[in-house]
Symmetry: C2
């Protein structure tokens, strides 16, 4: 716990003198101050001068950004004028998170005025520093304004301003191919050149550039999809439903118990890739290994169609399907951006009062696109498929979001309500950039009373279960999906 | 795919000359050789001279360790004598994994003899190198011995010998406190100094040193356990069962549906820590949050009692309990080394034909103690509780193993059979050094037909669910355990 104390002096120099005493006490290790700053307001000046006690900056110091923001809020706000009002709203709200509330702000503004000075101290709650200083300054000091920060408030404060103190710098390390993965998966990883974040710094600047990059990244995938469909004897047939392009993907062998069931597939690709018949790539694998009919939706995507067009397309197809079959006979899902869309659709269905599918498959879901979650940091440059959040991945997300906040549930359905979701199977791996997104979604689903299972495959990156098709991981994952659908579809 | 080709020459210099040609062709980029080595056996010598073609060592080279091991197997084995026979058994078995089988070894040993020489080449299967060299050496060359390596065999080979090629060097990164964790968990992590692997380099060298280190590391824990039991109004009572020390840990509130059930607790602590009443630390939390009676076993530990004494103690207590209650009314488990012991006990029970418990709790289980699994590398120095495998953790494991192979199921129950296990709940986190061990155990349990659920908490390290008692993660984990017991105990 930390305490933020403000000592007010009735003249412009008192605070500076007190700081001098403090520094000498600190040097003698008689007191422990975490951080300090001084405000001096000379008579006749329009605003005070502020300075951080650099000599005290050591363990626990928050740094200039914190004091700058706090003093901006306390003393310089009127000068910002109306134009920044909206910014200041969030600004003040943020400080409330740190335990610096309206009362505190008002006290300071009322008392620290022209011709006075003030000393701001951040100390460990209950430490001797404040008592000692009170003794030293007997008689010289004016009133005292105090704000006790809870552990959580202090942590939030440090998180925002003291990153040099709370973030850990993880040194270089050697990562061998995962000995805990299957031979096939490990061989595939051992053959992969080390992921290179520099190669992911592609940020198209215009619609034309986007279309060119997308065409380049999707090159060869259609041949691959057709090759796989041939290899697995899976038939693929184009159709349109309510004006939306779809593909009927039918395996040569259908599980007798899934004969009258349908898997509605929303493909991945960061909301921009895998359009057209390429969308069937994952659908073919699902159809073959889960032994179920799949309907893959070629929803419209950016740059021509930002959010929420994709979701609207998926909704149209789903609603059409419900005319001829019960919702409980439909499973739905996909990987990455596709899992995001499936989650978003289910939230939309619940809002609209439409029956939800009987089961969901969320493969390494892009449930939180805001770079919140441990694995965005830990698995940066370790995930061989996504590689890193910054660069192309983030560019795709922002293109899709089209100006929306990345924590808007339409962009990141994790932040929406998950109550009422159908039984959900989630899949991730220890090298997945979206390991945290998947794990957090799983926990939140269970907290929302949803039947939810997660599978974590050792050594696997984002959607490796679909990337290394013949691997035991891939076979096991889709055998689990088959069992899950048998258990939950009606 | 790679091919290992051996060119045999009928004189001791032919191979060296051929290597010269090869190097010049490689320099002209006319051929691509991944690695090469030469064996020259002068007449009258007892053994050949071997050397690696250092000039070729580039992309794809396996390095001296591979050639040294291979040549040891091929030419120097007889000189090792009988004493190392057991070692050579595993040695040869390992090469079989790389596609270097008995026939290959026999051919080489029969043909490459005194007065001859041989050139060993590793090339990409189907590359022009072998054909080109055959043209160049027309007439000079003796017979050719070949071994085609599959992708998996090549990957295994590279994993063992070519770490510089297949392991990734992950650069430094900054890891902020986990934004996806609860405020309480994040505050706790933000307050934790960065984990320091150097501080973990404690390797006691004698029984006395071990006992001193254990006493030091366990200091204060008993007070903490008693403080928590007071805070939660949990009663703790010592007893002995079949000569084994145990503690009856009874919460103030018992779930009515768990009134006649019992949770048998095997405490963690890397098989050496948390002995005596300290073993109740986790048991008190479980009793309070799961609302169930707990019996915590203070099994005997190293350095005085290495494996399998701990398991024998646990077995004695369990068998005694079965005299008065059905196995289905007993849940069992613990964290880390405790989860390892519970897994080992269940394997032992199945071997002995004794009824297994009705449900298991495996918190971040030390299921694989052999440093196999991704998270031993990825989360090295990121897990704030275990920190790193090397040093103290490994020393504890080896002390407990007492000379056994670390993949012996008695040390690492992951390598034993998991069929017939009761329903099992597993818990881990994204910073857990044992994330992979937990995830792999979960998948293997499911593959063995066992009902098994896993929970992965974002940002949490080894056993943080027990370390940050008031956190939502801790509450959720034990609420899940409560629900799991209600579902599966009989």
């Amino acid at each position: 716990m930390a305490t933020l104390t403000v000592w007010k002096f009735d003249n412009p120099t008192g605070a500076g003198e007190a700081l001098g005493k403090l520094e000498s006490l600190q040097k003698q290790q008689l007191i422990e101050i975490q951080d300090a700053a001084v405000v001096e307001w000379q008579p006749g000046e329009k605003e005070p001068k502020t300075r951080q006690a650099v000599s005290l900056t050591g363990a626990g110091a928050l740094g200039g950004a914190f004091w700058g923001m706090l003093f901006g809020l306390l003393f310089f706000m009127p000068f910002f004028g109306l134009a920044v009002g909206a910014v200041l709203g969030g600004f003040a709200a943020r400080f409330r998170d740190y335990g610096i509330d309206d009362d505190f702000i008002k006290s300071v503004r009322d008392q620290v005025t022209e011709g006075t000075s003030a000393l701001f101290l951040l100390t460990v709650t209950g430490s001797a520093a404040v008592d000692k200083l009170q003794d030293e300054l007997k008689g010289k000091m004016g009133s005292l304004i105090k704000s006790n920060l809870t552990n959580v408030q202090e942590a939030k404060l440090r998180e925002a301003f003291g990153q040099e103190n709370t973030a850990w710098r993880i040194g270089p390390r050697t990562l061998p191919p995962p000995a805990g993965a299957s031979d096939e998966m490990r061989a595939s990883i051992a053959e992969t050149p080390q992921p290179d974040p520099a190669a992911m710094q592609i940020e198209p600047q215009s619609e034309a550039e986007w279309l060119a990059v997308i065409a380049q990244l999707d090159e060869g995938k259609l041949d691959m999809a057709r090759e796989i469909s041939k290899q697995f004897s899976v038939s693929v047939e184009h159709a349109t439903i309510e004006g939306v392009n779809v593909y009927h993907v039918t395996p040569s062998e259908i599980d007798p118990k899934l004969e009258d069931k349908l898997f509605v597939h929303t493909h991945g690709g960061a909301f921009v890739l895998n359009g057209g018949e390429v969308c069937t790539l994952e659908a073919i694998v699902i159809a073959h290994l889960v032994k179920v009919r799949v309907l893959s939706i070629d929803y419209r995507m950016p740059p021509l169609h930002p959010a929420p067009t994709a979701r609207t397309d998926v909704l149209s197809v789903y609603q059409h399907l419900l005319k001829t079959r019960p919702a409980g006979s439909v499973a739905m899902g996909g990987s990455s951006g596709g899992a995001n869309l499936t989650m978003g659709l289910v939230q939309h269905l619940i809002e609209l009062g439409i029956d939800v599918p009987g089961a969901l498959f969320l493969g390494t879901p892009g449930a939180d696109m805001s770079k919140t979650g441990d694995s965005y940091y830990i698995n940066d440059s370790i995930d061989r498929n996504l590689v890193t959040y910054g660069g192309f991945v983030e560019a795709c997300i922002r293109l899709y979001a089209n100006g929306r906040d990345l924590k808007d549930p339409l962009v990141s359905p994790f932040y929406g309500d998950l109550h009422g979701f159908p039984p959900t199977l989630l899949i991730t791996g220890t090298r997945d950039l979206l390991l945290s997104a998947t794990a957090r979604t799983h926990i939140k689903l269970r907290q929302s009373g949803v039947v939810a299972d997660i599978l974590v495959y050792d050594g696997t990156a984002h959607a490796d279960y679909i990337g290394v098709i013949g691997s035991p991981e891939s076979h096991h994952a889709f055998a689990e999906l088959n069992a899950f659908l048998l258990r939950h579809l009606q």
